[in-house]
């Protein structure tokens, strides 16, 4: 099966955008990936061995975290795993909207 590597992590896979592995489960596939490319491990997992909170692993179009069998979910060669770091942000400024409304309020 293929594991698609996002642009920021390709520095650890010899610039490959996808890595082929032979595995029966999601967990096996990820273990193979980090065995082939050991430096990926600390990018994907925290020191306690858990997947970092901002790293998403998708089996085809499904978030592995929400699959009933999670990383023991069986896979075939036709499946694909995608590693997708999260993307979010914003001003984060509390009351931003309120200040906007105040700024247009009549004197």
């Amino acid at each position: 099966m293929k594991i698609y590597i996002p642009t920021p992590l390709r520095v650890y896979t010899g610039k490959q955008d996808a890595v082929d592995v032979e595995a029966k489960t999601v967990g096996e596939a990820l273990t193979q990936l980090t065995t082939l490319h050991p430096e990926l491990r600390k990018q994907l997992y925290s020191d306690d061995g858990k997947l970092r909170s901002f790293v998403n692993i998708y089996l085809n179009d499904e978030d592995v975290r929400y699959l009933p069998e999670k990383d023991t979910t069986t896979v075939t060669d036709a499946d694909a795993l995608s590693i997708i770091p999260s993307i979010a942000g914003g001003t984060g400024r509390p009351g931003n909207r309120a200040s906007r409304l105040l700024s247009v309020a009549p004197d």
């Binding site: 698609y4 996002p6 642009t7 920021p8 520095v11 955008d17 600390k42 990018q43 970092r52 901002f54 790293v55 998403n56 998708y58 179009d61 978030d63 995608s82 997708i84 770091p85 999260s86 993307i87 979010a88 942000g89 914003g90 001003t91 984060g92 400024r93 509390p94 931003n96 909207r97 200040s99 906007r100 700024s103 247009v104």
Partner: protein, 161 residues
């Protein structure tokens, strides 16, 4: 350095005007080479932070996978992201920094005031790991015909305060 066409530049800014007072967001597809992120397409994405869309944005991973898949068909990668800051400067916030994880990608921010796009800046997420990352200002090279709004912006700048 971020390189993109005037049409793409304008499309990002227009998106921010359309979603005002909410934040817009999108994905930049293209090629990364020698420290230059060249954008071939800007793809609009839905802001999933409907609970706080005026000061937060988030793109669903599923949508990112779909966009990434479409990009692959053209030989493009994800090289950056864009979002707007309604009534806020075009500089990254602490939230932007904390939530930035795509090392080597460009993060474009447009400030929008009163439904009008103002400043647009790009920041490159540098560093070798999550623990050693930083967002640094990078130049924006706009190729192609200058859009009309550039003249309008210049006119605005010339108006005395």
């Amino acid at each position: 350095m971020l390189r993109l066409t005037a049409a793409i530049y304008e499309a990002m800014r227009t998106h921010g005007e359309e979603t005002y007072p909410h934040e817009c967001c999108g994905v930049l597809l293209g090629r990364s080479d020698g420290g230059v992120n060249t954008v071939e397409a800007a793809v609009r994405a839905a802001n999933t932070r409907t609970d706080s869309a005026h000061n937060r944005y988030s793109i669903a991973p599923q949508e990112l996978i779909k966009i990434q898949r479409e990009g692959r068909e053209h030989g493009w990668d994800i090289v950056g992201f864009y979002h707007s800051h309604p009534d806020h400067p075009a500089h990254w916030s602490s939230t932007d920094f904390a939530e930035a994880h795509w090392l080597g990608c460009s993060y474009v921010i447009t400030s929008v005031a009163g439904s009008v796009a103002r400043q647009t800046n790009s920041f490159l997420l540098t560093g070798s790991s999550e623990e050693a990352k930083s967002l640094e200002v990078e130049g924006i090279q706009i190729t192609g015909k200058a859009p009309e709004y550039a003249e309008a912006e210049e006119a605005l700048r010339s108006v005395p305060a």
